[in-house]
């Protein structure tokens, strides 16, 4: 069962007051939510690391949550920040292609969740930048492979990755 927005906000409010039980439930629910949130946009072998990074960030920055505001847009902003951070990180050569069954069922997302999704960040990128990032940073292909697949030169793939990540970093809160 997945907790809804109001329940998560209540749990976070209780966690800020030091309620460890509520916090454990919140982190568990947030972890599940993050797995769905990152699906299709993170290579499977990086997913655990990224979810843990976001949970650690949530813990360190828990005072920045305002209990009067919705919880998920706050968590999504942290998740996007850490995700862009990871995209910036070193490319790992040994990656595997995303499997079709990793795709999330978009029909189950409601309008609010769709607004804070990672797809909204990608949608703001020019197609060439989004494709370069998908191929190299998410699917884990080499620059050379990506160049052959998308028809961009290797230099252009690198430039598009750099510019795309920079643009997404500037849009973390704005893209919805």
């Amino acid at each position: 069962m997945t907790a809804d927005e109001a329940a998560l906000a209540r749990l976070m409010g209780a966690a800020q007051q030091g309620d460890r039980q509520a916090y454990a439930v919140l982190l568990e629910q947030a972890g599940r939510w993050l797995r769905r949130y990152f699906a299709r946009r993170v290579a499977p072998q990086n997913l655990d690391d990224l979810v843990q990074e976001v949970l650690l960030s949530l813990h360190r920055k828990r005072a920045t949550y305002d209990p009067a505001r919705p919880f998920l847009p706050w968590l999504a902003a942290i998740a996007r920040y850490r995700w862009v951070d990871q995209l910036r990180g070193e490319y790992r050569a040994a990656t595997q292609e995303l499997q079709d069954n990793d795709a999330v069922d978009e029909g189950s997302e409601d309008a609010v969740l769709a607004r804070i999704s990672l797809d909204r960040l990608f949608a703001r990128l020019p197609a060439a930048q989004a494709r370069a990032i998908e191929l190299v940073k998410i699917e884990g292909r080499s620059i050379c492979e990506a160049s052959q697949r998308c028809g961009q030169s290797e230099a252009l793939v690198k430039v598009n990755i750099f510019r795309g990540i920079r643009k997404m970093a500037a849009l973390i809160e704005k893209a919805q």
Partner: protein, 213 residues
Amino acid sequence: MKRTTDGLIAQLANELQPVRPLRWRAGMALALAAFAMAALAVVALRGLSEGVAHGHVSAFFVVANGLLLLLGLAGASAVIAMASPNVGAQHQGPKWALAMVMVLPVAAAFALLGSGSADHSIGGLHAVYCIALSLATAALVAAALVVWLRQGAPVSAPAAGLYTGIAAGALGSVAYGLSCPVDTIAHLGIAHVVPVALAGAMGRIALPAFLRW
């Protein structure tokens, strides 16, 4: 050995301590306190200008400093909001306030067109003092905003740095303006707006490194 997510959750829950949520009002109070201290420091060190002391200021003085004050408050408000991230936040306020302040240098340029000596109209060496001392005053406000941002979780460090600089520059300019004896539009529109642009550029370049987390 890699830790599991369940193990991490158990560890974090076990380490949990109560925290006081960052409130926008508390952040604004900090920014306003820094602005008040900056203004008091200016008055203590340089005294009030004749016009301000006797309530005889020009309309240009009121318009210029009113716009700069609004820009400073809008910028500070955005910076404080940026400490608490939220998908959907646009932080558009400072852009409109900045656009309004940019009317001042345009008005100054028109004023200079009809004047004999641009250097004299702007204030000569005094204009350089205004810019330098406004920036020095702005540093106090900038420090308060950076302290707040470092407690928070800004997800766009370049934008946070830029807005911090703009807010601090505008409030620093207003604080220093209390002691500035020149209240012509040519002087106010240039010597009191340039610090905003300089502080914004400095914030954009220098602050992101301190704001990443």
